[in-house]
């Protein structure tokens, strides 16, 4: 009797609960895939039934994208994808570095923050595309304009999140730094920066999706290459299937970039996840 209860307890503690958790994960994945598959089937059925030239079927769209990427026919895709990604990452990197640097300085200094706060909030409130005409006049049609616009558009979420992160650094971390002879640079780079990193990454994620948007907009307005350029070209020449293929490509690009950033974040902030989990238990 006693033996039976003990073995019962053992099985509930070990095997089935772990198996159930695994089963739960498998179920969740299966459900997600089912929803996705269902969506594609409905899309396929509706577009086939309608026969509209504006709405090609998903099978056709994927086929077209596949042909341009791997089939070697039509547009050489790398000639457009590479400049697009270069502009996007260039603008995002410059804007992010500027946002983090200025955010650290402003967040660390109460007085600077008081002075600059209204300015920063005003800057953030300007929709970046509204500045496109100005950037065109100032910087012309080239890559500099596009990179500058992306950088300007994405700097705000990074800046605000960095300021917020630095402000909410636990004062005892800073006291510890003071006790152990931390220099000003230590204070900024070895205490405030890592302590604010979780919030900074939240800002970087927002800014990455804004960067994709601005890349497309800037290429639609003034470019001779790039995925945004292809998109607007195909629309203007009524190549609807191409247009859908580029939309799909942009979706994939955004998804891949976001996934890559999440992977980096998980690596860099491993301590943060661990510390949070440690605090929970």
């Amino acid at each position: 009797m006693v033996g039976a209860t003990r073995s019962d307890r053992l099985t509930t503690a070990g095997g089935p609960s772990a198996a159930r958790r695994l089963g739960g994960v498998a179920n969740a994945v299966a459900l997600r895939l089912a929803v996705l598959a269902g969506f594609l089937v409905v899309w396929q059925l509706v577009t086939t039934a309608s026969g509209s030239i504006f709405f090609p079927t998903p099978v056709e769209i994927v086929e077209r994208l596949w042909q341009t990427v791997f089939g070697g026919q039509g547009t050489p895709i790398l000639d457009h994808l590479v400049p697009s990604v270069a502009r996007l990452l260039g603008g995002w990197t410059i804007g992010s570095l500027a946002g983090i640097a200025v955010g650290l300085a402003v967040g660390a200094s109460g007085r600077l923050r008081d002075y600059l706060d209204p300015l920063i909030h005003f800057g953030r409130a300007i929709p970046p595309p509204a500045l496109l005409p100005l950037f065109l006049v100032l910087l012309g049609l080239g890559d500099v304009m596009k990179v500058a616009m992306i950088a300007f558009g994405i700097v705000w979420p990074v800046l605000l999140n960095t300021i917020d992160g630095v402000q909410s650094v636990d004062s005892q971390y800073l006291d510890t730094g003071r006790v152990y002879g931390a220099t000003r640079a230590d204070r900024l780079l070895r205490i405030m920066l890592p302590a604010a990193a979780p919030k900074i990454f939240a800002g970087l994620r927002i800014s990455l999706s804004i960067a994709v948007i601005l890349m497309v907009i800037s290429e639609m307005v003034a470019a001779t290459n790039g995925v945004g350029f292809l998109l607007i070209q195909s629309q203007r020449t009524f190549r609807m299937l191409d247009m859908w293929a580029w939309i799909l490509l942009l979706g994939i690009l955004g998804y891949v970039l976001n996934t890559a950033l999440l992977a980096v974040e998980r690596r860099v902030l491993r301590w943060h996840q661990g510390a949070r989990r440690g605090a929970d238990t």
């Binding site: 971390y173 510890t176 003071r178 006790v179 002879g181 890592p194 301590w271 510390a275 989990r277």
Partner: protein, 266 residues
């Protein structure tokens, strides 16, 4: 027991300090009033006072983290302005004082980066101090992978590696369980004797203050001021069971308790 000759030398001199938060304002709060005491070379001194009496403020003033509004502190006859190089502080809340983004080794290394040590000496100091606190095997773990008691050991190791002339401790064992606390007390005594260091230990626990110290400074309730200084004089090395069952220990404990509970002198 520690040598007697350098004992006479005053290391930390807290001279008539007082601290008022928000002086002149509506929320003015007198945290400490006219506190004076001295810590001599090689001494283990504890400060005991009721909870919320201003012990932490007193220690922050003594460490140079906080500039007292009255009086002054000097360390080795040099007036303290900002935290001196020769002083280290172990905080009560280890989880907010160890950096969670650094491994144990790099946490202990943090104070050593600007001391101009050669690489091997730096590594040796880290090993030695982790060894001193019994955590030689945990160097590559992160603080959050350790128990509370082990985290506080890391904080102690970090302070030891810095080799300060005086080590200040702010209720360092207040948030660990009783058994761990006893272990950490004995660890602290062993480390103090081995390094012949000087320790100023703040606690609200009367037993702990008597058990550890050569001398107990008793504080009044808020605003904190020194009520009495008691020479402990219990034999060393001390032992959790033997020392605590000595008549002298029991008598000292009762005396400190009476002093803490006594109504304020006007």
């Amino acid at each position: 027991m520690s040598a007697t000759s350098p004992r006479s030398q005053v290391l930390l001199d807290v001279d008539h300090i007082g601290h008022v938060y928000g002086r002149g304002g509506r929320a003015e709060h007198v945290a400490i009033r006219d506190c004076s005491f001295q810590v001599r070379q090689g001494e283990f001194v504890s400060i005991v006072g009721p909870s919320g009496c201003g012990k932490t403020t007193l220690l922050r003033c003594a460490s140079g983290l906080l500039q007292p509004t009255d009086g002054g502190v000097s360390l080795g006859a040099v007036p303290v302005a900002g935290v001196p190089r020769d002083l280290a502080l172990v905080f009560q809340d280890y989880s907010r004082s160890l950096f969670p983004w650094l491994t144990v080794r790099r946490n202990v290394d943090f104070p050593l980066r600007h001391l101009g040590l050669a690489k091997p000496e730096r590594a040796a100091r880290i090993e030695r101090s982790l060894d001193d606190v019994g955590l030689a095997g945990a160097a590559d773990k992160y603080p959050w992978q350790l128990s509370g008691g082990m985290q506080q050991r890391v904080a102690i190791a970090r302070a030891l590696a810095y080799e300060p002339a005086v080590l200040l401790m702010d209720e360092p064992f207040a948030s660990v369980d009783a058994q761990t606390r006893a272990d950490l007390e004995d660890l602290m005594l062993a480390v103090w004797e081995r390094h012949a260091s000087t320790v100023l230990f703040v606690t609200h626990d009367i037993d702990e203050s008597v058990y550890l110290a050569d001398r107990v400074i008793v504080l009044s309730s808020s605003p904190a001021s020194v009520v009495a200084e008691i020479e402990v004089g219990l034999p060393r090395p001390r032992d959790q069971i033997e020392t605590r069952s000595l008549d002298a220990f029991v008598a000292l404990r009762a005396e400190v308790a009476r002093l803490i509970r006594a109504p304020r002198r006007a």
